[in-house]
């Protein structure tokens, strides 16, 4: 016997919790995007030790489950003497994790730009950062756009694991509603539809961008899933 039925109040509760899912996704996207830009720049930079450092960073964040990274951030903060806060832990983890994936997406796009562009810029007296900023990235943007939007879908879905460190976003709200109503089909069905409504438009847009930019592309940049055992797979 359940405590109450799944009604408008419960639906409202879920919809309000969706705010935090969206906010978390936006933080992860902004933080991850910024870190990703830096990581990508370092990965193509001339300084070799820096490149290794960035590669190690990417290896760690792509080679371990994000849930473990989240737990490390959450409990690591208490080890360092801070009070663990789910929001801080989630924001830091999702940004750092996103930074690794965005770093790989951006690097793929940057490396798809012909070498001649770099040489021409060097011949004109441009140094590394100016070449990257004024010559390479403006051309690489349309290559990185489709996988970037595609990865945003991944980010929205991933925010659900923040519920496991007690952050009340959509997934945690769902388990709470399920506990009192015990109508799992209704509750998780509704929540699935909410996530779907957030993710599907992004998926469609990513597909549209891919098709739109496809004809002019020299090489397609795929969103990296993990560090692939196959160096240049596509």
């Amino acid at each position: 016997m359940s405590l109450r039925d799944f009604g408008p109040n419960e639906l409202m509760f879920l919809l309000l919790a969706t705010r935090w899912t969206i906010l978390l996704a936006l933080i992860a996207f902004a933080g991850g995007g910024l870190i990703g830009l830096v990581v990508a720049a370092i990965r193509v930079a001339p300084a070799r030790p820096l490149r290794w450092l960035a590669a190690g960073y990417i290896q760690f964040f792509m080679g371990t489950p994000i849930l473990i990274q989240l737990f490390m951030a959450y409990y690591g903060s208490s080890f360092l003497g801070y009070r663990p806060d789910p929001w801080v832990a989630a924001a830091v983890t999702f940004s750092l994790n996103g930074g690794a994936f965005f770093g790989e997406i951006f690097r793929g796009a940057i490396e798809a730009i012909p070498k001649g562009q770099w040489e021409a810029a060097t011949a004109l007296g441009f140094r590394f950062t100016r070449t990257l900023r004024l010559v390479i990235i403006p051309q690489a943007v349309r290559l990185m756009l489709p996988p970037t939007v595609g990865f945003m879908v991944q980010i929205v879905k991933t925010t659900s694991i923040a519920s496991l460190i007690g952050l009340t976003e959509l997934a945690r709200a769902a388990t709470q509603v399920n506990t009192v109503t015990f109508q799992p089909v209704m509750v998780f069905g509704t929540v699935s539809l909410i996530y779907f409504a957030l993710c599907w438009p992004l998926s469609l847009y990513a597909g549209y961008l891919e098709r739109r930019f496809a004809p002019g592309m020299t090489r397609k940049v795929e969103a990296p899933l993990v560090m692939s055992p196959f160096p240049s797979s596509s």
Partner: protein, 221 residues
């Protein structure tokens, strides 16, 4: 602030960690097996099946790929018992993980099927091959070869994805870690060790999949 990292109190529970690891590997292996089977059926049904089949498959793929694995896991774990399926948390995890991977595998294999040039199929037809043999030998196997890198990357993601099934109290590695945290109160150290274990597991799996790929697709194109 604690003064130093202490791994000793955790490493004496190595047997628990290894048992958790074995469970994680089992969950991953079973769900990869079933998920790939679903993917093959889904891709074939989508590409060559009748309309009333391809349409629901397309929706299955879209629905799974646009919702979180955690919600799929909760859905299976809490809903199926209502319909009379009594599942252990491990079985529920395998079911959810397989359905999850099945959607991605369907999409990846479908992309592979679409990449097969029309001429190759026409050539097979003109050699007098039947429909079944064309689909199997001329389309599916070369398609699988073409998308094997994406597929194995998805498998690796699946291995890491098993970490969240601890949320429904299955006994895999992350769940073991959570228990150890409660026993030893050394949460940070526990998760460092778990991260290392997963990292090694993922690297080993990468090598394994690369090796399997080399064995399975030996011939030259």
């Amino acid at each position: 602030m604690q003064t130093a990292l202490q791994f000793g109190p955790i490493l004496i529970h190595l047997d628990l960690l290894l048992r958790g690891l074995a469970k994680s590997i089992q969950l991953a292996a079973l769900s990869i097996l079933f998920g790939t089977a679903i993917g093959i059926l889904g891709a074939v049904g989508r590409s060559f099946g009748p309309r009333f089949l391809s349409w629901p498959i397309a929706w299955y793929v879209e629905l799974i790929r646009n919702t979180p694995l955690l919600i799929q896991l909760y859905f299976v774990f809490f809903s199926l018992p209502l319909f009379g399926f009594k599942l252990s948390s491990n079985t529920a995890a395998v079911v959810a993980l397989s359905i999850h991977l099945g959607a991605y595998a369907t999409e990846i294999l479908r992309a592979g099927i679409e990449s097969i040039p029309e001429g190759q199929i026409e050539a097979a037809k003109s050699l007098g091959l039947g429909r079944y043999r064309i689909i199997r030998h001329v389309i599916l196997v070369p398609a699988a070869r073409a998308v094997y890198p994406s597929l194995s990357a998805q498998f690796i993601l699946q291995i890491m994805g098993t970490s969240i099934v601890g949320a429904i109290a299955a006994e895999e590695l992350t769940a073991v870690a959570n228990n150890l945290v409660m026993q030893t109160f050394r949460s940070f150290e526990v998760y460092i060790i778990i991260a290392v274990i997963y990292f090694v597991l993922v690297q080993a799996a990468s090598l394994l999949f690369a090796g399997i790929g080399k064995l399975m697709f030996r011939w030259k194109v």
